[in-house]
């Protein structure tokens, strides 16, 4: 009897009120976000960190948005489906905030100064945002000049190495010898050769990304199917056309592998270069704050770096997908 009643109920729900369907992961996530807000606001810090109220308010607003999404997400179409895909991550982040907040600020199990609660990082941004902004600007300037000059020279060198047998004969052994040496090993020499530490740092960043780009461009150009050159030559192509319109596009896939490698190397070298004799920059900021055991500032800076670096990687992916539309999805 009860079975019949249940199936009748179930049928009624599924047919007459489909618009009240709820996105359950959203609700579960909201619970953890609200819990985080509650303990951040309700329990006292073992040692005051500041920005307690602001973080509680932010997580509470986050929880509120998640509740709203849980009720409306099925009406949001494609956007809703994209948000729903990340549901488990919203839960995970809520749990992470809760555990992080509780074990650091509220109980002191993970003690100051080595650990910082989330609102400790928030406090860094609130207090030191102007200096951090300047550091971001300096870092991006150094990285931008170094990276773009490095890949330009590396690309030109790579094309020459892959194209000209004579250039390859003299250039490749040198490149193979220098290539594996970490760019940072050149620091003592560069500080002697360049007039300022800024110039030396640009050189180090350029070197770190230029070498993989040069090696992979050379490999790409030298591996181009010879038949493409035959076809182009019979069609009347001169050497310039063969290089720019055949060799380079055919090697572009390799070039992008080099660019991705160079991008990662350039981040590593950037931070090290800034730790030496710079006046501003994210690397300098980390070194400076570490000296004062201000680890909250260090963590806050690492978060900024993570976002900046992954953003640049994402940009490179977009550029690659635009330039390589002609092929099926690559392997990188």
């Amino acid at each position: 009897m009860s079975d019949v009643a249940q199936t009748a109920d179930g049928g009624a729900i599924s047919t007459s009120v489909p618009s009240f369907s709820i996105w359950h992961p959203g609700l579960v996530a909201a619970v953890f976000w609200f819990l985080t807000a509650a303990i951040t606001w309700g329990l006292p810090d073992v040692i005051p960190w500041g920005s307690q109220g602001l973080f509680a308010a932010m997580t509470a607003v986050g929880g509120g948005v998640l509740v709203a999404l849980a009720l409306t997400i099925h009406h949001l179409g494609a956007l809703g489906r994209r948000i729903a895909y990340w549901g488990p991550w919203f839960i995970a982040v809520g749990v992470w905030f809760l555990v992080w907040e509780y074990t650091t600020a509220k109980t002191g199990w993970l003690p100051k100064p080595f650990f910082s609660p989330p609102h400790g990082l928030l406090q860094v941004y609130v207090v030191d945002w102007s200096r951090l902004l300047i550091c971001i600007g300096y870092s991006l300037r150094l990285w931008g000049i170094g990276f773009f000059s490095g890949i330009t020279v590396g690309f030109a060198l790579g094309v020459a190495l892959g194209w000209s047998a004579r250039f390859n004969y003299w250039g490749m052994p040198v490149l193979k010898l220098i290539g594996p040496v970490p760019a940072t090993a050149w620091i003592p020499a560069t500080f002697y050769f360049f007039p300022t530490t800024f110039h030396a740092s640009i050189f180090l960043v350029a070197l770190s990304c230029g070498i993989p780009v040069a090696i992979l461009t050379a490999a790409g150009v030298s591996q181009v199917n010879r038949a493409f050159y035959d076809v182009a030559r019979t069609l009347g192509a001169n050497e310039r056309f063969l290089v720019l319109k055949v060799a380079v596009p055919a090697a572009l896939n390799h070039v992008f592998v080099g660019l991705f490698m160079g991008l990662y190397y350039s981040f590593a070298v950037l931070v090290v270069a800034e730790m030496l004799g710079a006046k501003y920059g994210l690397g300098w900021y980390i070194a400076f704050q570490s000296a004062y055991s201000a680890y909250a500032n260090v963590y806050a800076t690492i978060v900024i770096m993570a976002i900046l670096c992954s953003g640049l990687v994402k940009l490179l992916f977009v550029a690659r997908d635009r330039l390589l539309v002609w092929q099926e999805k690559g392997l990188i």
């Binding site: 035959d230 030559r233 019979t234 192509a237 390589l324």
Partner: protein
């Protein structure tokens, strides 16, 4: 289409003279004789098929005629001028279409004009060449999106847009399925009849040679020598069940050492 045919007719068909050409390759210190004293003349507008077993050196002869390589001995002349380097007046169509995968169909066809800086004044010829091979709807497709037959038609358009006086064809239908091959052979025959270029076709397919060429030159196994020449005095379109066709096929196969067919 008519415009292309008209303009192409203005482009003079070229003669090709192959005079006592021998060639060999050195591979890992071993000398491979490829061509042995080949002499052959093509009149302007003639369609000649080179027939021989696989790997006999037919493709090498075409590479020499295209100017991609120089012969070890002997000379090759185009309209009585020695062939020393590739030139768009004589074009090579390969067994593989060898389209540039990073260029759209239109840009592939445009390659020759672009390389010679003729693109501004001759851009309209690209559309004409595409419609000639019935691919105008695929102008913006990339090569990976094409079937084998379509890709080979693009390769033909890429050659024809340059109004070659001499077309060198290296088994251009060899990798196609049999139905596509038949229709492309017919299409190509029409192109040749309309545009009037000189054609040198390398093939190992006796029927293909007899369907298309006015003269069939039979080559030996490597190193290639000329074994025999057959005139094909049949009118187009030719039919495989024509008694003369069958007789010629039997004679040629016999010359190639295949009996009882």
């Amino acid at each position: 289409m008519t415009a292309l045919v008209k303009e192409a007719a203005v482009q003079r068909a070229l003669s090709l003279d192959i005079r006592s050409v021998s060639h060999h390759y050195d591979i890992a210190g071993v000398r491979f004789e490829v061509l042995d004293d080949i002499s052959l003349s093509l009149e302007p507008g003639e369609f000649v098929a080179l027939l021989g077993p696989s790997g006999c050196g037919k493709s090498t002869l075409l590479r020499l005629a295209a100017g991609l390589e120089r012969p070890r001995t002997g000379t090759l002349l185009e309209d009585n001028t020695e062939i020393e380097a590739p030139d768009p007046s004589r074009l090579l169509v390969f067994q593989d279409p060898t389209l540039f995968p990073w260029r759209t169909v239109r840009k592939n066809v445009a390659t020759g004009l672009e390389a010679r800086g003729l693109l501004p004044e001759k851009a309209h010829r690209i559309d004409e060449a595409l419609s000639l091979v019935r691919l105008e709807d695929f102008a913006n497709a990339y090569p990976r999106q094409l079937s084998g037959g379509m890709a080979q038609r693009v390769a033909l358009a890429r050659a024809l847009v340059n109004d070659p006086g001499l077309l060198l064809l290296d088994e251009p239908f060899g990798k196609l399925d049999s139905l596509t091959r038949l229709s492309l052979q017919t299409e190509f025959l029409k192109l040749w009849q309309n545009a009037g270029f000189t054609a040198l076709l390398v093939t190992h397919d006796v029927e293909e040679a007899l369907l298309l060429a006015g003269r069939v030159v039979v080559l030996s196994d490597r190193p290639a020598r000329i074994l025999a020449e057959f005139k094909v005095p049949l009118d187009y379109p030719r039919h495989r069940d024509d008694p003369d066709f069958i007789r010629l096929r039997r004679d040629i196969l016999h010359r190639l050492g295949v009996q009882n067919v």
